[in-house]
Amino acid sequence: MWFVIAFVIWALGFWINHKLANGEYGQSRATRIAIPTIFGLTILFVWECLVRGFDVPMVILPPPTAIAVRFGTSLDILWIDFVQTFIKGALSGYVIGCGSAFIIAILIDGSRFLKKGLLPVGNFIAALPIVGTAPIFVMWFGFDWQSKAAVVVAMVFFPMLVNTVQGLAATNLMQRDLMATYSANYIQSLLKLRLPAAMPAVFNGLKVATTLALIGAIVAEFFGSPIKGMGFRISTEVGKLGLDMVWAEITVAAIAGSAFYGIVSIIEKALTFWHPSQRGHA
């Protein structure tokens, strides 16, 4: 019975999307939002039906309704974990890491020598598994959020540094010459020309860093944490086979991650409205 329903819903979802995509309004904004939404809902329904149909035990895969119920009834715990991991761990590390990388990038920008040395080294370090520093920072800074923030700082620093340095190099000789003919000093040409021109690359770094920050804060909690936090809750609830709670935390992580990214993108749109990549989408 459940299989039939699952199949019908799948076929229905596919049929609607097929009609929408190839229909008259295939390119409209509403369709562009509707199609992925229908796809996502279809997956949720099929998931629910299959879990019920196959009688999959809760300890392997809970149905979406059970996750939603758990989400609704544990809002207080989820909120405490969110504050601990996201606000205290990820966000403070994100601000410190990105802020210091931004300032250092501006400082080294004057020196060709430093740039030539730091860019390859920074690119190299950005490709390394920095998450592995988590146990070390936990030993240095203790179990609470300070160690998580330190991991986040280590993770976001180099991607941000490399992007900012590249962004500051985005102006061409003509533009800089123009500033010179206006007899602009270093500060003026930095504030009026080079920093605005660097913004697209800076925001690239800021957006990459949002995901890294959340990953760093959650994974660092696997190495030891006080009895709250998203990573802590995931690892202990997995141990207790409370998978509905695990999925509820993952839902929070997903919402927090995409909201964080979304907010940074909105700020980007507001600040770099002049850039070709932001125009023409209206």
Partner: protein
Amino acid sequence: MPMMNRIVPIITIIAAIIVVWYASAVLMNTKWATDQAARKGVELTTVELIKDTWSQDRPRLPAPHQVLFDLWKSTGEMALKGKAFSKRSLIYHGWITLSSTLLGFVIGTLAGILLAIGIVYNRVMDMSVMPWAITSQTIPILAIAPMIIVVLNSIGIQGLIPKAIISAYLSFFPVVVGMVKGLRSPTLEQLDLLTTYNASRREQLWKLRFPSSISYLFTALKIGMAASLVGAIVGELPTGAIQGLGARMLTGSYYGQMIQMWSALFAAAILAAVLVGIISMIQSRVLGRLGIQL
């Protein structure tokens, strides 16, 4: 000399990092050294103090040479003794991590390329899957790693496969997003040209879209490889930390073995650098053959 021009700044930066590291080792290990000396009732001269901070058994921050020495002791020296695959050797643990990384990476990459081809040739798939693939990159997917390990363990699957699944999952999305961009990179004129040649869809894919996606593919492969390695390391944490580089880090943190944690971290970093380096080498070879300038 352009070569010197590039290398001198890099070496300077690396030297600066090492100097700062040694200095921090002195600062962070001083307290332990002076405490020990006070307990024994001796005064340390500055030279003795510095010497001590660079050679403690359980330092807060091990000096670089201590890490390198431990790294050599647990890899090269054990290999020379013919015990390269003993359980105390980092070669053994590194191999455990490497094997699941590579298996997952291959699965994730192949699945990613297939999905990308589907997305490029099917409007419904494009419009329904692509937004989710992009959103998934803003989500800390790594958080589900412990759950995958434990759930698969409870239905009897353990060892290599669960970690490989995490690695595959992490390398999958970067490859999808990169390949879709790459397969769409041919210009309208190029596509039109193939249409005038009466090329079939398959010929269009193999002769135009695929070759023009190569440089996008390699960029995605490098990101995917780094993500796969992180996935395998994190996947080793919840299983009780038996084998693999992630397990070495976790046991190190249980027993306060800073040097062991640092050498596991270095081993992971070297592994990542070698893997990404191999991809870069293949990339420059392939792009060179295709006549694409880097």
